[in-house]
Subunit: 329 residues, 2 copies
């Protein structure tokens, strides 16, 4: 296994599609293998421009992503796409049908597409998505697009790994407050009014601009970037080229104006997230193995011990025992 | 301070309003003080029936909560209300205006109302809300209602602390998919079609029932409870008594059918959440204090070390140093 991961990484760096797919799957299924892979590929990462695409269902995100990928290919860039679907048992994988058109792109050697769905915890999906982006980055893709199916809080938190976030809306999507409450206005670097061939597109664009003006003093001081609102009609292939110009403008902005502060912050977040996920795994593994745990839970159920004190007891026990010989070293 | 917390707890248990308010604030502002308070009150908790109320903005949740509280008071029960608002910078506290009518209840000595808004992290708000519920429970409230302003993922995760979760919808709220994607269908124990005096109320109720039937094999095996759909018009005070009957039916169901498994699972979740929040605090504190951290981040930025390895380095350093004498003991 160890041998084969190193071989796969070698092929990945040469841009091999099979190795890319295999490494993403391996990293997805096991955080320990993921760590091994990331440590090998990490020196080759950090070149890609990562674009996040979020917005409510029905705003036409999939079609837009398809058009963006085609346009970037025309401009000579290689493209990776990660479609994230934290599926609820109520919606099943129904919306994945939208992605059939994506298969056209699959035949293009400069393009790689991957779907990620929830397995296990949410933290797991965010981690797996981040690792998939790193693997695509190491494979030499110039552009990596992370698309979410909806705009729930979980999807918003995943899309934040991107450098440039597109929030895609469309005219007549109904209750604007829904969109506000989901917290997606705060994260947009560029707002796209898709399906702009419909009535009321200008009105929708204006509403967004009003909201941005209202909020600009709160948020946008952070980097100084003022989010533009761009109208597109993905299905009619309109506005795509202008949108890409804006995306590239944002990328130049990030690299010029605030490069050091901005990229250092991202590195810090990466480390803190890695730490968080490791500590949680450690604590939960420990709980699973430890026979005393059942006793303790009974005491809490009987109101003899409160949950915080129980956590202290478990924590102390982790701190004094977790010094076992390490695996895989 | 130590003295005064113990005094406040004594008064809390006697049902004193001022002590209740003060302890909730103290617990909200400092996790360490919260732990102290919870350890003192924990033996007095576990009696209240906790009701969570969630649903999209505009579904009339606040009015419904007001009517429920009034009806329970009529039935001789004491009531605590915690209104949670993980406010976005875009919506401000605007919706809090709705709560002015709640002030009527404030004058009733058998009723206690508290608003909680985001301060710091999300984990912080969930923790503070849970502690507020525990404090109200120890103060002797029979019923505790946790109401969220919207139905985003963060609000859904907070409302899960309840025993009985009401999902409030209303006719004509638009794009049903929005509601599905937010993940609120999965958590409802009782579905309320509020504003049922409007057109299409029956249609909305039927749609919900269809979705529940579709999904019943997936979710509801867990406890065997089949979520009813109840029509109300909070503003006209219609359907409230029936809704309360259903809520109490669910409470009897939990206490009879699955008591041991159900309540043990909740205790486990409480302990794991306490553990999670403690470990995170510990790791982040450690990072703040530790001078080597800057060095490490630079190495990650320069691609000399990958984030997972950096996390291992920090973790090892925590495991070998965190054995300082404890405070407040």
């Amino acid at each position: 296994m160890k041998q084969s991961i190193e071989e796969l990484v070698q092929k990945l760096i040469e841009g091999d599609k099979f190795a890319t797919a295999r490494l993403i799957s391996l990293a997805e299924n096991d955080p320990k293998v993921a760590q091994k892979i990331i440590s090998l590929i990490f020196p080759y990462t950090g070149k890609a421009h990562v674009i996040g695409v979020t917005g409510p269902p029905g705003s036409g995100k999939s079609t837009l992503v398809y058009r963006l990928a085609k346009e970037w290919r025309k401009r000579g860039k290689t493209v990776g796409i990660v479609a994230v679907d934290p599926t609820s048992p109520f919606t099943g994988g129904a919306l994945l049908g939208d992605r059939i058109r994506m298969q056209e792109l699959t035949c293009d050697s400069g393009c790689f597409i991957r779907s990620m769905a929830t397995r296990g915890t949410l933290g797991g999906l965010a981690r797996a998505t981040k690792d998939a982006v790193r693997i695509l980055d190491a494979s030499g893709k110039d552009i990596i697009i992370v698309e979410t199916v909806g705009a729930g809080q979980s999807e918003v938190s995943i899309v934040k790994l991107a450098h440039t976030i597109l929030v895609v809306l469309c005219p007549g999507l109904g209750d604007e407050i829904q969109i506000l409450k989901a917290g997606i206005m705060e994260i947009g670097d560029i707002f796209v009014v898709n399906k702009a061939d419909r009535e009321n597109a200008d009105e929708t664009a204006m509403q967004i601009e009003d909201m941005l003006n209202m909020a600009s003093t709160i948020r946008f001081n952070e980097t100084g970037w003022i989010p533009p609102v761009v109208k597109t009609s993905a299905i009619h292939n309109m506005g795509i080229s202008e949108l890409i110009d804006r995306i590239e403008e944002h990328w130049r902005f990030l690299n010029k104006v605030n490069r050091d502060v901005y990229f250092r912050k991202r590195v810090e977040q990466d480390v803190i997230e890695a730490l968080r996920s490791k500590i949680e795994q450690m604590a939960l593994n420990h709980i699973m193995k430890n026979g005393e745990y059942d006793e303790l839970i009974k005491k809490v159920a009987n109101k003899e011990v409160d949950p915080y004190t129980a956590a202290d007891i478990i924590l102390n026990s982790i701190l004094h025992r977790e010094e076992e010989p390490k695996e895989n070293e």
